[in-house]
């Protein structure tokens, strides 16, 4: 990671309010090239809301998001040419085959040499035998791989992965983790990742943010963070964040 290069993603004072519910409460963070940042927290902590705002499909109540120096609200289309995402709750249309889906999204992302890129991704994600299978009849793990192939289509500089290995068996999950890590190192991409698998987070993330009730509670290296807070493992720390967030509330100086 080169700290002299400006951050790929800058999130400043991001807040999202639905009626009386504060989903995200003034969070700020940066994400740099070749970095994998884990966004952790219990269900309802505001992780997916944050990802949706970065994707430009949800408008923040207040705060700013800029990608490669451009504001998402003003340069949405330009930013999304170099951004992509994958999430278990957003499978690709089940009524199209794997190749048809990738071709349609290849056009939407404006990528060059679509057939060659599709062949490369089919091989990378072990999807060759499913190329002409409709996505709707694939297993959830296979659909996750198709979603990841779509996420890599445009060689994004910012990649958002919401629980990328949630439906995968341990062997495929390991392969995908390795792939994500390699991709982050080789392609100058910044990756924001959510996961409930703390083993995965520890192995893949350079840095993590713990969210609770829309606020960033903790930030740091996933390998050192548990010990810094008197916990044995990242999972223990996660459970504490979920059950007793007040005991870990960050003081203003550390924010």
């Amino acid at each position: 990671m080169d700290s002299t290069i400006p951050p790929t993603l800058v999130v400043l004072g991001l807040r999202k309010v639905y009626g009386n519910t504060v989903a995200v409460d003034g969070i700020s963070f940066e994400l740099r090239q070749n970095e994998i940042l884990g966004l952790l927290g219990p269900n309802g902590a505001g992780k997916t809301t944050t990802i949706n705002m970065i994707l430009g499909v949800l408008k923040p109540t207040t705060g700013e998001i800029s990608v490669d120096g451009m504001n998402i609200l003003k340069h949405r289309s330009k930013i999304l040419e170099h951004t992509n995402f994958s999430a278990v709750y957003a499978p690709l249309p089940g009524n199209l085959t794997v190749v048809q889906n990738l071709r349609v999204f290849g056009l939407l992302y404006g990528i060059q040499h679509i057939p060659e890129k599709i062949e490369e991704l089919l091989t990378t994600f072990d999807l060759v035998k499913f190329r002409d299978t409709k996505c709707g009849v694939l297993s959830s793990g296979e659909q996750t791989r198709v979603g990841l192939a779509k996420a890599f289509l445009n060689d994004p500089t910012l990649l958002l992965l919401d629980e990328p290995t949630a439906s995968l068996d341990p062997s495929m999950a390991l392969e995908i983790r390795t792939l994500i890590k390699e991709f982050a190192q080789k392609k100058s991409v910044a990756i924001l990742l959510t996961s409930h698998n703390m083993y995965e987070v520890e192995h893949i993330c350079d840095r993590v943010l713990f969210l609770s009730k829309g606020k960033i509670l903790l930030e740091g290296d996933p390998k050192r963070l548990p010990q810094e807070h008197g916990k044995e493992t990242l999972e223990d720390l996660f459970i504490t964040v979920a059950r007793e967030p007040l005991s870990l509330e960050r003081s203003p100086e550390t924010v």
């Binding site: 639905y18 997916t48 949800l58 949405r76 289309s77 009524n95 349609v104 939407l108 992302y109």
Partner: protein, 267 residues
């Protein structure tokens, strides 16, 4: 505007049509049923009435063109519904595609499928019931254009309505042509309608189309005024429909509707 993105929407629908009888049959089915039904009615009327009026172009022609309008309007909404049914909003609206490119894709898809449908209807009507629009030359062409524009406007507006109210509201959309038909004067002059209905008719471009087409059949002359009025109103409606869709989309982005679009999430 990048046309490759609009083309992606067309290509997606082409893939869906390919090998899907459930999508191909509706392109023709209802129109063919209407042509058969009205074809026999017009034949019967020609036989039993002593007037010199030829009911084939008057009634069967009117049915054919009204079905074409319906096909255009529902073509736009059906292409949009493919994203609703496959819960694809999050994927598709998190791409660089702009609203103008998306709507262009919906309209282009509709134009292709509607022209195929129109060709089938014309063929059927002329082969089975002797309806020949070709004898009128290109006189009907401007009226077809007005109907296309009107269908596009209502189609986009219907998409905005479904985006705002949720998937369950698609049942508001299907009956729209049937509700408009009495006001559009498809089978009778607008002067037949009671006074309170006539101002509403004047707001519908289709009413100018059918008045003008009756004129063509009766006098073999094309009057520019109904075409200009129908076309002008349709263009205004397209702009209003585009504005409505863009506004609803902005609302959906503000409220999180795009990210969580489902029957349950829309109030």
């Amino acid at each position: 505007m990048k046309f490759s993105r609009a083309y992606a929407i067309v290509l997606r629908y082409a893939y869906l049509l390919r090998g899907s009888a459930t999508r191909i049959v509706p392109l023709f089915a209802w129109s063919v049923i209407d042509i058969v039904l009205w074809g026999f009615i017009t034949k019967y009327l020609n036989r039993v009435t002593s007037s010199q009026i030829d009911f084939v172009p008057m009634l069967l022609g009117a049915v054919l063109f009204w079905d074409f309008f319906t096909r255009v309007m529902q073509g736009v909404t059906t292409t949009f519904f493919e994203d609703v049914w496959s819960r694809n909003f999050l994927n598709i609206f998190s791409t660089p595609m702009k609203i103008s490119e998306y709507l262009t894709g919906l309209v282009a898809t509709t134009l292709i499928t509607s022209i195929i449908g129109l060709a089938a209807m014309l063929l059927m009507a002329s082969a089975a019931f002797g309806l020949s629009f070709f004898s009128y030359g290109i006189m009907f062409f401007p009226f077809i254009i007005v109907l296309v524009l009107f269908g596009i406007a209502f189609g986009i507006f219907a998409c905005a309505l479904v985006l705002r109210l949720g998937p369950a509201s698609e049942w508001f959309i299907w009956p729209i042509p049937a509700i408009l038909a009495p006001f559009a004067g498809v089978f009778y002059p607008i002067s037949t309608l009671p006074d309170w209905m006539q101002p509403i008719s004047r707001l519908l471009p289709a009413s100018y189309v059918f008045e003008g087409m009756r004129d063509v059949v009766a006098n073999r002359t094309v009057s520019i005024l109904p075409i200009a009025l129908g076309g002008g109103i349709s263009l205004v409606y397209i702009l209003l429909a585009y504005w409505s869709f863009s506004r609803v989309y902005r609302y959906a982005v503000e409220t999180g509707l795009i990210a969580r679009y489902s029957a349950e999430s829309v109030g």
